[in-house]
C-alpha cells in the first residue's frame, strides 16, 4: 500500500516530530523504500504461528514491593534543559520542571 504525504504528516504528528513541507517529500521517498523492503513479509504464510517477543520464553520477574530507591531529585535536575525562548535559566523551579502553560 502506497504511503501519501498525508500519512507522513499524520505519523510525524503522532511521533511528535515537526516536519517541514520541504522535508515531507524526501521523507516520503525514503520511507516508501523502507516499507517496500518490509512488504516482503506479506508473502509468508504465518497462520497459526505464535508471535515471538523474547528469545528466552520467560515470564516477567517481579520484585518485592519495598522502597529501593533514594530521592535523587537534585542530582537529576542538574540535567534539566534551559527554559527556551532565549532564557538562560534552567527549566526548573522548587524541585519541579517548567513547561508552557497547558491549563488556562
Amino acid at each position: 500500500m502506497a504511503l501519501s504525504i498525508e500519512d507522513i504528516k499524520k505519523v510525524a504528528h503522532l511521533a511528535r516530530i515537526e516536519i517541514s513541507d520541504t522535508d515531507v517529500n524526501a521523507t516520503l521517498i525514503k520511507l516508501t523504500g523502507i516499507l517496500g523492503l518490509i512488504e516482503q513479509m506479506q508473502a509468508v504464510d504465518t497462520t497459526g504461528i505464535v508471535p515471538m517477543s523474547h528469545s528466552q520464553e520467560l515470564s516477567q520477574r517481579l520484585r518485592d514491593d519495598v522502597v529501593t530507591k533514594t530521592n535523587q531529585r537534585d542530582e537529576f535536575q542538574k540535567n534539566a534543559p534551559l527554559l527556551g525562548n532565549h532564557s538562560t535559566q534552567q527549566a526548573i523551579a522548587d524541585g519541579l520542571y517548567l513547561v508552557p502553560k497547558v491549563i488556562e
Binding site: 528469545s55 527556551g84 508552557p100
Partner: protein, 499 residues
C-alpha cells in the same frame, strides 16, 4: 620496550606487566592517552575524554595492585561506548539530543568494570542511538577506519571499533542490536562478541530496541574477549530481562582441541550478495578449521532473507516507544523557541534527532499505528519465531555455525549514506542471531584487496547455540593459535594530505 610493541599486548600480558610492577597503570594509561591525543583528532574514535577521572582510576588501580588484591583487568585502560551511562561523564549516545547530558548514575556494565579495577579511558563515538552501520549518523561526525581513512569503520560501535583497531585502548565495549559489534569487528579487523540476549545487563545502557540490544566485548583476540566477558556478564535485578544464571568462567574452555567439532555452513550466507573476495577469505578460514579436525556440514537457514524486513519492523517499533522519553522536559535538548507545549515537543524532537533516527521513529510509529499493527508488528513477531526455529533445527546438526560477518569489506564514507535500504543490507548475516537471541562473534580471518588497492580486513562469523559463548571463544581461540590475522594492526603513519 617500545610503545608500539606495548599497545599490541594481550589483556593477560598487560595484567602480568602491571601485577609484576614492570609498569604502573598510570604509565600505561598515559601511554594510551598520548596515542589518543596523537591520533584521535584524525580518527574521531573518542567523543568524550576526561584525563582527570581516567588518571584517578589508574592511581586507584596502582594502589590496589600494591595492596595485592588485583583482579585480571585491574589497571587496564578500556574504552566505553558512549551508550553506557557513566556517572559524571558526558553520555550522549551519539546524539545532539543528549549532547549536554552528564550521566547521574552508572550502567551496570560500568559498575562491573569499576569493580574490576579497570580504567575508563573515555567514551567512544557511535551511530546516533546505535542506529547505523557506518558511524555516519553520529552527531559528532564520522569515524575513520584505521585500515584506510577513506573507509567507514562500520557501526554502530564504530568508535570502539576504530579505537581497538588503532590500538587507542587495550579493549572496548560495544553493543549489538542488529550487528553493531560484529560488523565493525569485521570491517576493522578484530575480535568482537555479542553474547546471548540477557547475559549482560542492559541497566544504564541507553535503549534502542530492548528485545534485541545486547552489550559485549570488542578486543584483539578471543582470549581477551573471554576476560572481558568474565567482567561484563552476570545477573542484574535492575534489568527485567537479565538472566539469573551461575557465574561462568569464559576462559575455561579456551584450550580444548577442536577435533570432532561440527561446523554448519548455511548456504544462504554464501549466496548472491556476498563479495567474492570475502567469500574466498571465509573458505580459507573453513579450510583451516578442517585441518584442526572439524567436520563441515552444509545447513540451511531458509528464512535468513526475511530477517531484514522483520528487523526493520521490530527495531523501529521498539525504538519509537523507547525514544518517546526525549521530549525536552526533564533532560536532553529543548528547542530554543516554541509557542506551546505541543510545539515544544515537536520542535525539540525535530532539532534533537538526526535524519536516520527520525526515519526509524516514523517507521516504528507507522507500523504500530491503528489498523497496521497486525499486518506489520504481529506479522514480524511471527516470522521472528520462524527465523529462531531455523537455528533450532540447524543446531541439531552442528555445534557452531560459520559464515561471513558482513557482505563486503569496509566501504567508502558517503557511499551508502543516502540509501537507507542499501545500508540496512550490511547486516544481512548478523541480524538473524539478534532476532533469535543467539550469541555471535566476528573473528579476523584475513584481508581482501580493494579495486583501489587498499588492504582491508575480513571477519569470520561464528554463531553458537544459547549460552555457548565459552565454546565459541574456544573455537575462535584455537583458530587464533594457528593463524596471526588477529595480531595484525594498521599502519597509522598515513601519507601527507590524508586526514
Amino acid at each position: 620496550m617500545s610503545n608500539s610493541h606495548l599497545t599490541n599486548l594481550s589483556l593477560k600480558q598487560f595484567g602480568d606487566l602491571l601485577q609484576s610492577k614492570k609498569i604502573s597503570s598510570v604509565e600505561l594509561t598515559q601511554m594510551f592517552l598520548h596515542r589518543i591525543q596523537q591520533y584521535n583528532p584524525s580518527i574521531n574514535a573518542y567523543i568524550a575524554l576526561d584525563e582527570g577521572k581516567t588518571l584517578a582510576q589508574a592511581k586507584a588501580a596502582d594502589a590496589r595492585i600494591a595492596a595485592g588484591n588485583a583482579a585480571p583487568l585491574t589497571g587496564i585502560p578500556i574504552a566505553q561506548k558512549d551508550i553506557f551511562c557513566a556517572k559524571g561523564w558526558q553520555t550522549t549516545c551519539g546524539s545532539k539530543m543528549l549532547a549536554n547530558f552528564i550521566a547521574p548514575y552508572d550502567a551496570h556494565v560500568i559498575t562491573l568494570f569499576d569493580a574490576a579495577g579497570a580504567v575508563n579511558l573515555g567514551k567512544t563515538n557511535m551511530d546516533e542511538f546505535a542506529m547505523g552501520s557506518s558511524n555516519e549518523t553520529s552527531y559528532f561526525g564520522g569515524v575513520k577506519n584505521p585500515w584506510s581513512f577513506d573507509r567507514v569503520p562500520g557501526g554502530s560501535s564504530g568508535g570502539s571499533a576504530a579505537a581497538v583497531a588503532a590500538r587507542l585502548c587495550a579493549a572496548a565495549t560495544g553493543t549489538d542490536t542488529g550487528g553493531s559489534i560484529r560488523q565493525p569487528a569485521s570491517l576493522c579487523g578484530f575480535t568482537g562478541l555479542k553474547p546471548t540476549y540477557g547475559v549482560v545487563s542492559r541497566f544504564g545502557m541507553i535503549a534502542f530496541a530492548s528485545s534485541l540490544d545486547q552489550a559485549g566485548p570488542m578486543a584483539k583476540s578471543a582470549e581477551d574477549c573471554a576476560l572481558m566477558m568474565n567482567v561484563m556478564a552476570g545477573f542484574d535485578e535492575r534489568d527485567s530481562t537479565s538472566l539469573n544464571r551461575e557465574k561462568e568462567d569464559y576462559s575455561s574452555a579456551l584450550h580444548q582441541p577442536l577435533r570432532g567439532l561440527r561446523i554448519g555452513l548455511p548456504k544462504e550466507f554464501f549466496a548472491e550478495g556476498l563479495d567474492a573476495d570475502v567469500g574466498k577469505v571465509i573458505e580459507n578460514a573453513i579450510a583451516e578449521y578442517k585441518k584442526l579436525g572439524a567436520e563441515i556440514i552444509e545447513i540451511s537457514l531458509p528464512n535468513t532473507g526475511l530477517s531484514i524486513p522483520v528487523y526493520y519492523v521490530l527495531a523501529p517499533a521498539e525504538a519509537s516507544s523507547n525514544l518517546s522519553r526525549y521530549d525536552g522536559v526533564r533532560y536532553g535538548h529543548r528547542a530554543a523557541e516554541y509557542t506551546d507545549l505541543m510545539d515544544m515537543y515537536c520542535k525539540s524532537r525535530a532539532e534533537g534527532f538526526g535524519a536516520e533516527v527520525k526515519r526509524r521513529i516514523l517507521i516504528g510509529t507507522y507500523v504500530l499505528s491503528a489498523g497496521y499493527y497486525d499486518a506489520y508488528y504481529l506479522k514480524a513477531q511471527q516470522i521472528r519465531r520462524l527465523i529462531a526455529q531455523d537455528f533450532v533445527e540447524a543446531f541439531k546438526q552442528c555445534d557452531v555455525i560459520m559464515g561471513p560477518a558482513a557482505p563486503s569489506t569496509a566501504f567508502k564514507a558517503g557511499e551508502k549514506v543516502d540509501d537507507p535500504v542499501a545500508m540496512y543490507l550490511q547486516d544481512i548475516y548478523t541480524i538473524s542471531t539478534n532476532l533469535a537471541g543467539l550469541p555471535g562473534m566476528s573473528v579476523p580471518a584475513g584481508f581482501s584487496q580493494s579495486v583501489d588497492g587498499k588492504t582491508l580486513p575480513v571477519g569470520l562469523q561464528i554463531i553458537g547455540n544459547y549460552f555457548d559463548e565459552a565454546r565459541m571463544l574456544n573455537v575462535a581461540h584455537q583458530y587464533q593459535q594457528v593463524t596471526d590475522w588477529h595480531t595484525q594492526a594498521p599502519n597509522l603513519n598515513m601519507p601527507e594530505g590524508i586526514t
